[in-house]
Symmetry: C2
Subunit: 236 residues, 2 copies
């Protein structure tokens, strides 16, 4: 079943945005009356039917609400330095969404080479991944912020924050964190966090952890963190 | 430390292949006397120094052998259908190598759209990922084979074979498999294995498993299988 996204849909009729309308008409070549599903990306999903078709504005009748999947009792926030090669960050977003992540904050670190991101494109990737993996919750992409700004806000949501750091004699993430918790994991850029950044994080009560025995690329570290978390909440 | 690959190196002197020589001279701009490390991709690694430089043939003195890391007591073989979009398969290879995999077999399935692979390019990606993640074991890339050929050979190495299948009421991989074992996981193409393939696998004693609650793309399923395995062998 084709899944569409309409952030403000509720019972009755709803209008798909331009991108979604184009996708329905031009890519999937749907016709009036065809069955689809529409989610608001916040857990709600409806069985729906195409009511009118236009490449810029497609109207759908929301027929009945599907059961909202129970929200997980834990949440994962990944703060990650944008990779030098843009496509690596995009891959991370797609895979983390497929595997399971609640929010993502791109952070600028001392060793960051890329200092700009294409927010709109990244949001599209998250949306595509949510729909492709048939989920009804869209991960939140927060605005880019500096390492220090991030330090000043993390933990405010009562989550525990970990910093991934390769082989620093620290515990492995899987051993450090517990199931059922709200957790934030910080992933550094190519070239890692600087020593000064590690020090400042420590002063802020952030726990340094490693992600295993091999040296992982930034985007792989992000995916491994997401999946470690899924496993911890599955196994323990 | 820069890690180089020379499959037949042993104590004394050794010559790097053309690609590795070019990398030393043109990319890293190394000079005679510079320290490097050289691995044979089978667990051996040497501290070494550049003895002579030529973009086609760089000679190195192998100074002393580093301790060979203990081979894991388990092994993981992933049989995966090449993805329609070539870069997705390449991405899987890079990430699986970083996370940990011993061998990979591309398999042609009924629903496979891509029926050819670029073996040389894929081997280069594995090599790059091994070096980047500072490992001394190079995963083996087996030749492309058909689903049925694969069924006829899998398990001959006394490994247990699982088939990843989305939501078939099967156990999850993490619950089905045990630590410390030789395991093979089969990952299907976009569009999944066909019903007939699933049936033939079952007749061959292959256990169908799922990889969690969300629908994963082929390459994500491969990465998740590799990391699930690493976790099982870490936690249990």
């Amino acid at each position: 079943m084709n899944l569409f996204y309409a952030p403000n849909c509720s019972a009755g009729e709803c209008t798909l945005g331009e991108e979604e309308s184009k996708h329905a008409l031009k890519v999937l070549r749907l016709a009036i009356g065809d069955s689809i599903q529409v989610t608001d990306g916040k857990g709600k999903c409806y069985k729906a039917a195409i009511a009118s078709l236009d490449s810029k504005c497609c109207k759908v009748d929301l027929l009945n609400a599907l059961p909202t999947p129970a929200r997980r009792l834990w949440s994962l926030h990944i703060a990650i330095a944008p990779t030098k090669n843009n496509s690596r960050l995009e891959w991370f977003l797609e895979k983390a969404c497929e595997i399971g992540v609640d929010s993502i904050t791109p952070i600028l670190c001392e060793h960051s080479e890329r200092r700009k991101i294409k927010t709109e494109r990244l949001e599209k990737i998250l949306l595509g991944a949510m729909k492709q993996s048939q989920q009804y919750y869209l991960p939140v992409l927060n605005p880019l912020m500096s390492f220090d700004e991030f330090l000043s806000v993390t933990g405010a949501d009562a989550s525990t924050t970990y910093m991934a750091s390769y082989k620093d004699g620290n515990k492995e993430l899987v051993d450090a964190c517990q199931p059922g918790q709200h957790t934030t994991v910080m992933i550094g850029p190519e070239g890692d966090f600087s020593e000064a950044e590690k020090e400042r994080a420590k002063l802020n009560g952030i726990v340094a952890v490693n992600l295993g025995q091999t040296r992982l690329r930034t985007e792989t570290a992000g995916i491994v963190a997401a999946h470690t978390f899924a496993m911890i909440n599955k196994i323990r």
